[in-house]
Amino acid sequence: EPEVTQTPSHQVTQMGQEVILRCVPISNHLYFYWYRQILGQKVEFLVSFYNNEISEKSEIFDDQFSVERPDGSNFTLKIRSTKLEDSAMYFCASSAQGARTEAFFGQGTRLTVV
């Protein structure tokens, strides 16, 4: 069964460093998303991406964040200068083109900022 894959599964970084989280969405999907989940809290939407540009973003997705689809398979989330409060599980998701968002999630990357 097709699935969304994310790497790495766990990333530890020092405050102020840049991190890039990587995702390979399901191959025939056209919409891509990043969500985060701080430990013990709910899943929060960050950004959606379609046709090589951002479609929608939340208040969380500030100038420190950027997304890119560098080739035909990868979808990345970059955090320029990490803060302690960026520590969370980051989930990539993808959705086939259709009338509604039916998102299929990856296993997540646990980001720990120290």
Binding site: V4, L30, Y31, Y33, Y35, Q41, K42, V43, E44, F45, L46, V47, S48, Y50, S55, E56, S58, M89, F91, A93, S95, A96, Q97, G98, A99, R100, T101, E102, A103, F104, F105, G106, Q107, G108, R110
Partner: protein
């Protein structure tokens, strides 16, 4: 920003019993999805409901979307220990087109005791 309230937050019942968990909002959603999330993993999509009053069944699980598309319920018949997990509802805020971010509830932690 639309909010989804899930209740109860925690539920522990004996195997074989029936249960219902709820997802409520004061806002209208174009669609609503139910996910199950295991610790340290991404949410797994169970079902999407779109039409007010819609009922969908997935084996022993019955999902209903409220007539006004503001609320939803998940009913499990004859619960099994394998049903143990975190159940999340997520609503699509926009008109429905794939690019919309999902608003998640905090989830119901369900424990089925043998």
């Amino acid at each position: 920003t639309q909010l989804l309230e899930q209740s109860p937050q925690f539920l522990s019942i004996q195997e074989g019993e029936n249960l219902t968990v709820y997802c409520n909002s004061s806002s209208v959603f174009s669609s609503l999805q139910w996910y199950r999330q295991e610790p340290g993993e991404g949410p797994v999509l169970l079902v999407t409901v779109v039409t007010g009053g819609e009922v969908k069944k997935l084996k022993r699980l019955t999902f209903q979307f409220g007539d006004a598309r503001k609320d939803s319920s998940l009913h499990i018949t004859a619960a099994q220990t394998g049903d143990t997990g975190l159940y999340l509802c997520a609503g699509e805020e926009g008109s429905g087109g794939g690019a919309d971010g999902l608003t998640f509830g905090k989830g119901t932690h369900l424990i089925i005791q043998p």
